[in-house]
């Protein structure tokens, strides 16, 4: 098993005829991911790398029983695309688009909460499960094997690029990943660290989780609380980038849009302290990850 995706995953790509989507589709198919259908309004009857295109999600569900959607549409069309997927019973939606107006994001997340639908993103590189050779999104690009090899470590990263780099560090340390997830760089996202730790906790094939974090938001503080309450019991290894930002004037934004520090809230040092207090292995230097992984996992 892996979290979120597996043998039952049936994928529809919303916005499949776009330039970015076509590249993602090509790379996913090359990797071995099975894609069932695509949707672009007005383009029914076309195909993208052999994947049939429909006008509506409704048709894709009727024809292919899709249950998972990869949304690769321009920012101003995302809200409607997500509402359409929710309306037709899609259970997992990965939203890769960035620069979505916040009010639209708020609406789309509210609709998903109400329907019990899980959203990853927006502004995410996606997720990958090497064992099942399923990748949703641009994660891994044209060469997923470079960084993502099958194994038992879960990866949760706020940065898309660092999802790859962190999985590569895990590979360097001699291990592999069960599922690697980029949760998205925005402050408003569908699935946060604690929510994904909950899934990794109940996944028998995940033995530890590595997180990559940035300044801003309360995701790490929330994860620390979750671990403290005993709801995540596997080894948790965390790195928080951007400590230099604490020396910069308040209101400066480096990294992602979510990475804004305001007062005590969102400071890397506070996140590190809270995670440490909760029992996580918080590493000071990124390169230490290899040693810490080897020590921690050998002990287990």
């Amino acid at each position: 098993m892996s979290i979120l995706v597996g043998p039952d995953t049936r994928i529809v790509v919303q916005g499949i005829t776009g330039r970015e989507a076509q590249m993602v589709v090509k790379h996913s198919l090359d990797y071995g991911t099975s894609l069932s259908a695509g949707v672009t309004p007005g383009k029914k009857g076309q195909s993208v790398h052999g994947i049939p295109v429909y006008d509506t999600v409704k048709e894709a569900v009727l024809q292919h029983g899709v249950n998972t959607s990869l949304v690769v549409v321009p920012p101003l069309f995302v809200l409607d695309a997500v509402l359409e997927a929710i309306a037709h019973g899609i259970r997992l939606i990965v939203v890769t688009s960035e620069n979505i107006p916040q009010m639209d994001t708020v609406k789309m997340l509210a609709a998903a909460r109400q329907a019990g639908v899980r959203i990853i993103g927006p502004n995410t590189v996606g997720l990958i499960s090497p064992k099942h050779r399923i990748k949703l999104g641009s994660i891994g690009g044209d060469n997923p094997e470079r960084c993502f090899v099958p194994g038992s470590i879960g990866v949760i990263s706020r940065s898309g690029g660092m999802t790859a780099e962190t999985s590569w560090m895990i590979k360097r340390a001699g291990f592999g990943v069960s599922t690697s997830i980029g949760i998205g760089g925005d402050a408003l996202i569908g699935s946060n660290i604690a929510q994904l730790l909950e899934l990794f906790e109940s996944d028998p094939e995940t033995s530890a989780v590595v997180t990559f974090s940035e300044p801003g938001t309360a995701f790490e503080e929330g994860a620390a609380e979750f671990v403290k309450q005993g709801k995540f019991t596997k080894p948790l290894i965390s790195y928080i980038a951007g400590r230099f930002t604490e020396q910069m004037p308040e209101g400066t934004v480096f990294g992602h849009a979510g990475a804004m520090i305001s007062g005590e809230f969102g400071r890397p040092s506070v996140k590190m302290r809270k995670l440490r207090e909760a029992g996580a292995h918080v590493i000071d230097h990124y390169d230490d990850m290899i040693d810490v992984l080897q020590r921690t996992l050998r002990l287990n």
Partner: protein, 405 residues
């Protein structure tokens, strides 16, 4: 988020029938004197800068005569408020205040919902009020689909103790403000203070409106009122930063955000988002000093990479270039390499005397490596970690400049 200057936000809320004081903009002391003379009553003079806490910084003054208005305006025009030079002054009708209240609409990022914050104490920092007198404040979340209902606006003020005409007016104003907030994709719309005058009118005495950059294309009417990119900075953009915004805007492919540091000698181009934070931390850890910070990602075309590289190297004091990305998912390394090498060669940089260290791994990196190495640039791929590459960059700086001095 780009903040609108106060006269812009006041004009917008006034168009939506929210009462605001009479106001004019003056660019010189003389203009302010003329306005005051014609108005014939006491005025408030406010520095027109897109930051809050102006009162605290002495950027709000009161004048009863034209002479006073002139002198105070000249004084304000000489100020810099929280890094923003004052170019204009807002001259406003001075209200006869009985009570000051507070109201704002913003997004609660934890609950992921719009939130209304209202208080019957205004003119203060709301963060302080929350701590000091939580009973005098209401925080109400709004369903983003159904929006704020008139009865909810009424309940908020009624719970705070308002009644009679004041309750009706304040509720009506809040309802209209919520409308403005949604219609203009505001990140924040804050009225502080919302004033009850001695004649019983409720008036928005000061307004702060910030608009979501991502929604800018939905609001062509706001063009020129919001500085795009300004939301990422605590100060006005520098000339070079503005040039880099133009380089970025010239092509929609790939993203680039440039921020200038005080001092520093390493020109710095790094992976977007998380990777750039890690690189910066790593350079500092090994004793390096970045001069700027340029996040690039996605798939920038060669021209954009070239323009950014030239910009990075044009900052005075830059004596080396560090280009580092995390192993990329989709960025084409060969395209990056062509842009960087073209800029370096055009400027006439000799990597033997001016360290250029690159750590790039990803799509087409074999070709990228060939291009970098043909230009004598120190190249690393996925044979070293980001931290190691940063350490080697700093060592290279020490080596080269120790030799030269």
């Amino acid at each position: 988020m780009g903040k609108l200057l106060e006269h812009h936000s006041k004009r917008i809320i006034k168009q939506h029938n929210v009462p605001v004081p009479l106001n004019w903009v003056a660019s010189t002391g003389q203009e302010a004197a003329e306005i005051t003379k014609q108005f014939g009553k006491r005025v408030v003079l406010k520095a027109l800068v897109p930051v809050g806490k102006r009162g605290k910084h002495g950027a709000i003054q009161f004048a009863s005569t034209a002479e006073e208005a002139e002198a105070l305006t000249n004084q304000l025009l000489g100020m810099t408020v929280r890094y923003f030079p004052v170019d204009q002054v807002l001259v406003e009708e001075c209200l006869d205040i009985a009570e000051e209240w507070y109201v704002s609409i913003t997004l609660d990022r934890n609950k992921q919902l719009p939130v209304i914050i209202a208080a019957t104490e205004g003119g203060v920092e709301v963060e302080e009020l929350v701590k000091r007198q939580p009973d005098r404040i209401r925080m109400v979340h709004v369903d983003p689909f159904t929006g704020l209902q008139p009865y909810q606006a009424k309940e908020i003020w009624s719970d705070l103790g308002l009644t009679g005409k004041a309750l009706v007016q304040a509720s009506d104003i809040l309802f209209k403000l919520y409308d403005v907030c949604v219609n203009y994709d505001c990140d924040i719309l804050e009225i502080n203070p919302l004033v009850l005058t001695r004649t019983g009118e409720v008036v928005a005495a000061a307004s702060v409106m910030g608009v979501d950059d991502a929604a800018a294309s939905r609001h062509p009417e706001l063009k020129g009122m919001v500085e795009v990119g300004g939301e990422r900075s605590w100060r006005p953009l520098t000339e070079l930063e503005k040039q880099m915004v133009a380089v970025n805007d010239a092509d929609y492919r790939g993203t680039a955000r440039y921020t200038e540091m005080d001092g520093g000698d390493i020109g710095f181009m790094c992976g977007g988002g998380g990777g750039s934070l890690l690189c910066f931390d790593a350079l500092l850890k090994h004793g390096g000093s970045p001069a700027n910070y340029t996040e690039t990602g996605g798939n920038p075309p060669e021209e954009k990479v070239y323009g950014l590289t030239k910009g990075i190297l044009s900052k005075p004091g830059v004596k080396g270039l560090f280009v580092a990305h995390n192993i990329t998912n989709n960025t084409q390394i060969d395209v990056m390499a062509r842009g960087i090498v073209k800029a370096i060669q055009e400027i006439g940089i000799d990597p033997q005397k001016f360290p250029v260290v690159v750590r790039e791994a990803g799509v087409n990196d074999e070709e990228g490596k060939r291009i970098f190495e043909a230009a004598n640039i120190t190249y690393f791929g996925d044979d070293v970690t980001i931290e190691t590459a940063a350490r080697l960059m700093v060592e290279r700086m020490k080596e080269v400049y120790a030799c030269q001095s």
